[in-house]
């Protein structure tokens, strides 16, 4: 049976997030030829509607309200449930993002349905869709499906499901008016700690530093290489604990789980907790002075050497060819 699938579209710094396009691609598979309806919530978001159509949404519903300017589970919860009531979807897809992680359990609870979070792959289509997700911090995987009839609800991990080709298409963008009341959380301020532009969890390239970086300044050559490649800088817990960088950069079991196309680990020994956060990256490069370092065991390519020699040379070499 084909399904009607709702997808939550998300914006960040004035642009749609890639994970929303990936979520549409996931929704297409789950729909089994049914309809994919993207949902945009915010203060002023209707301009983004057509872009979601270009990436495969059949139509878009926007809910605009001053109370939706910042995400709150109450505000977004009321708005999304109003769309659910109107559309009666058979499936829902969110990105496994800060918003998706926070909101999806609330919606699943209200719908009294199962929620399959942090999905990295989908096998089969429509009613036969089975969802693959990492468990034990990526040390194993499980295949999960909904047990009985009900709303199929999944969140998809950024960078894992390929978005559809962008093409000019037409689809209806309509608005739904929702009364948003009684917000129990008031957002006061957001302090930007992450680097401008590239979000670590969605970055295609990550240059990560460990204790071998030795100081705050030691991260500068890594940042330079990341900027050149359009990537982001990450860190091991060791580097964060030593106060070389902010915990917001930490990759690992505690910290972020990332799956970029290219992960360059510089001066990281490869503690098992760190590997849990990055071992599913597509290509891993290890740079470490210690040829016995654990990180070489998961690396596709390794250079035994001092990161302060290797990283600047790498930047120069990439500059030549790019």
């Amino acid at each position: 049976m084909s399904k009607k699938v709702l997808v939550l579209g998300e914006t960040r710094e004035g642009a749609l997030r890639n994970v929303s396009f990936e979520a549409i691609a996931a929704a297409k598979k789950i729909s089994g030829g049914g309809e994919v309806v993207a949902v945009l919530l915010g203060e002023s978001v209707s301009d983004f509607g057509n872009e979601l159509v270009a990436y495969g949404a059949d139509r878009v519903i926007t809910v605009e309200h001053p109370h939706l300017k910042s995400y709150t589970s109450d505000g977004y919860g009321q708005a999304f449930m109003a769309v659910v009531d109107q559309e009666q979807p058979e499936a829902i897809v969110f990105g496994h993002t800060a918003v998706g992680k926070d909101l999806s359990p609330k919606i699943a609870s209200k719908l009294q349905t199962g929620l399959i979070s942090d999905v990295t792959d989908i096998e089969g289509e429509g009613d036969d869709a089975v969802f693959i997700r990492p468990i034990y911090s990526g040390k194993a995987f499980e295949k999960v499906k909904l047990k009985e009839d009900g709303v199929v609800f999944v969140t998809v991990r950024p960078n894992n499901i390929a978005p559809l080709e962008r093409e000019e298409r037409s689809g209806d963008v309509s608005s739904l008016s929702v009364d948003i009341t009684n917000l129990r959380t008031i957002i006061k301020n957001v302090v930007r700690k992450s680097a401008e532009g590239v979000d670590l969890s969605e970055a295609k390239v990550i240059i990560a530093g460990g204790r071998g970086v030795k100081s705050k300044e030691g991260f500068e050559p890594l940042q330079e290489l990341a900027d050149l490649l359009g990537g982001a800088v990450g860190a091991s817990r060791g580097a964060c604990d030593a106060d070389y960088c902010d915990y917001s950069l930490q990759i690992g079991q505690t910290g972020k789980v990332v799956t970029p196309d290219l992960y360059i680990a510089a001066g990281i020994s490869g503690a098992i907790q760190h590997m849990a956060g990055m071992s599913n990256s597509k290509v891993i490069v290890a740079i470490n002075k210690d040829p016995e370092a654990n990180i070489f065991k998961v690396a596709d390519y390794g250079i035994v050497g001092d990161l302060f020699d290797v990283i600047p040379l790498l930047t120069e070499e990439f500059k030549k060819v790019m």
């Binding site: 359990p105 979070s117 911090s137 505690t254 972020k256 998961v298 250079i303």
Partner: protein
């Protein structure tokens, strides 16, 4: 203040995973308190010490989980509750766990409920918010700072690396992110005291829950290990030539740049 902490016993992450018969083998493995739940326990103790009241740690599991509850009591929690589902529930998912916890909590008049933001085994991060929804109280996830002034609660939460500052009020459920605090180790006197602290054991019957009410909504069909990665290539030669070889490999062989 009436404080509850939701904790989960999890596989120690240092353990090697063995899958057989489509399941993770747990025999002989070490178990720990889910690391994110340790932050929640520590914060609960801190809040109680500042504002008075009582900290109750709650878990769902079998008798094995008593060890983790005793550890939480040794850290400084006042009471522990084990909801033993061994005889009643075969398959559990996040819906099941949240339903049971909410049924237990619904008449407890909790001011503050804390949990880890995610468990390192299942990794779903759902149970906290689901419990809050069932109890119809507000929740804030991935918090890194908590300040309570009267009825007002000031929180900083981690949103993908940025810090969001917000205000809300009690009753409230929060989930802990790394950076919230530094969990204490149980002291020897703490361990001695923990042995005498109350640990209540409940079953679904005690909570008036029917097995059918908590039947899992999702089903795990298969558990498997990722394919073994082939050993990578350690480049050789002078560093500058290794670097240029690496760049060409990344472009032509791996095709990631």
């Amino acid at each position: 203040m009436n404080i509850y902490v939701l904790v989960k016993r999890t596989f120690d992450t240092e353990e090697k995973l063995v899958v057989s018969g489509g399941q993770i083998q747990e025999d002989g493995a070490e178990f720990i308190i889910n690391p994110y739940d340790e932050y929640a326990i520590e914060e609960a103790i801190t809040v109680r010490d500042a504002h008075g009241g009582e900290v109750t740690v709650v878990t769902i599991g079998d008798e094995e989980a008593e060890k983790q509850l005793r550890t939480a009591l040794a850290m400084g929690a006042d009471k522990a509750v084990l909801i033993n589902t061994e005889d009643d529930v075969e398959e559990m998912d996040q819906f099941t766990a949240a339903y049971i916890l909410a049924e237990y909590l619904k008449d407890k008049e909790a001011d503050l409920i804390l949990a880890g933001n995610v468990a390192i085994d299942g990794g779903s991060g759902q149970v906290g918010p689901r419990v809050a929804d069932l109890l119809d109280i507000n929740y804030v996830t991935t918090i890194t700072s908590l300040e309570i002034e009267g009825e007002t609660v000031k929180i900083v939460r981690d949103i993908e690396g940025d810090a969001e500052e917000l205000e809300t009020s009690l009753p409230l459920l929060v989930t802990a992110q790394q950076g919230l605090n530094e969990p204490r180790y149980p002291s020897l006197p703490g361990i001695m005291k923990a042995k005498k602290k109350p640990l209540e054991e409940l079953e679904l019957d005690d909570l008036d829950i029917d097995e059918e009410d908590v039947e899992a909504k999702t089903e795990t069909i298969e558990v498997y290990l990722p394919p073994k990665k082939e050993a990578g290539r350690i480049l050789e030669g002078e560093i500058p030539s290794q670097v240029s070889e690496l760049v060409s490999l990344l472009r032509s062989e791996a095709k990631v740049i």
